[in-house]
Symmetry: C2
Subunit: 219 residues, 2 copies
């Protein structure tokens, strides 16, 4: 939550996030078509968001972890246009959007925070477009691993090892490639000594090598 509040302010802000909900692994926090009422701040657990076509093709549009917000897609049409699925048991703060808007009018610093949140999501998606439109499989997976470990590290976890919460198929969907290609690329990185992989456990041995694959210029 943004700083710059006094105690009284904080109490008002608390109202907006008073209610919490648990979401079981595999179940949806919200689904395509659901009426939009709230944003959700993830307290614990791990989510994916995804859209799908009529004919059943699914595109993962993001993976979200503690401290991140889901639900912004619902604002424009008062209905959600994607699914948010818990990849492990999770707990979220429910923030009714009407409250968010009301308090935003009262607290410019909160207003700014909300705007930055939405802008950040737009910029993030721009980056994924670059990945999908211009990058090869190895570059995509390198970027994915670097991004994941950076976010985990910012939350106090190791910057070298972690356990993936998502399947090869979900990684593939996010990165626009098939699960076999994801697996092969993991194996290739492993053979080259850049990472150590055992199923969903990953340890990054040579972060600079990953950075070089992702962005050959700046290394």
């Amino acid at each position: 939550m943004p700083m710059g509040f006094n105690l009284e302010d904080m109490q008002k802000l608390d109202e907006v996030v008073a209610t919490r909900t648990k979401v079981k692994q595999g179940s949806n926090l919200f689904s395509h078509g659901d009426p939009f009422t709230s944003l959700y701040a993830i307290r614990t657990g791990f989510f994916k968001t995804c859209v799908s076509t009529e004919d059943g093709r699914e595109q993962v549009t993001g993976f979200q972890m503690a401290g991140e917000i889901v639900g912004l897609d619902g604002i424009v049409n008062d209905h959600h246009s994607c699914n948010a699925v818990a990849l492990e048991d999770a707990e979220v703060c429910v923030m009714p959007f009407a409250n968010v808007e009301e308090l935003s009018r009262e607290f410019p610093v909160l207003q700014r925070h909300v705007h930055k949140m939405m802008s950040r999501e737009i910029v993030r998606e721009n980056g994924i477009l670059m990945l999908l439109g211009n990058m090869r499989a190895e570059e995509r997976l390198a970027a994915f691993l670097l991004n994941l470990v950076q976010r985990l590290h910012a939350r106090g976890f190791s910057q070298s090892e972690f356990v993936l919460r998502m399947s090869r198929e979900e990684i593939g969907s996010y990165l626009g490639m098939k699960l076999e290609t994801v697996s092969r690329t993991f194996s290739k990185f492993s053979e080259e000594g850049i990472i150590e992989v055992k199923q969903r456990y990953v340890r990054i041995l040579e972060p600079d090598a990953l950075k070089k694959i992702f962005n050959p210029q700046t290394c």
Copy 2:
């Protein structure tokens, strides 16, 4: 602009969009790295927004026409993270973001409008992710043409014929394919009698055929 204002309100709102700027074809409304100050409402003309890597690869992230807003990418870091390039001589309303935020606090209907704008952009990008991650060249181009003609029609232009403002290479960059593939796909559609193409002139002869290519289920 959103409705639900009285005359006095309208005058206040006018302040926010008091200044206008012309942008010459080929020049940038803003560039990656520029300090963020304002959003821009396109009055006339046509823009592309794009991001690029160190090594010079470019990804077009969107095409914008009259009535649409550019600049939302800049909010999160107080600097723009993409380029907005005029594809034809254009005129924009400059909306200093500080003013937008101030008036948003005063007018809930404007606040809601701003939020929807940003959410719409997020949802739009979700759709492009689906295109790039899951669809074949023909599906991408069909979706592109249908979207373009729908937006043009909403602005009073023909729903069957138009002149592209962007090159094959720019279309390709947006859709994650090479210019030759774009050209070949145009030719294929043309041979099948679905569209008529002559360079940048396009006439849609069989909109239903395009819809079927894009989404085989609902047709």
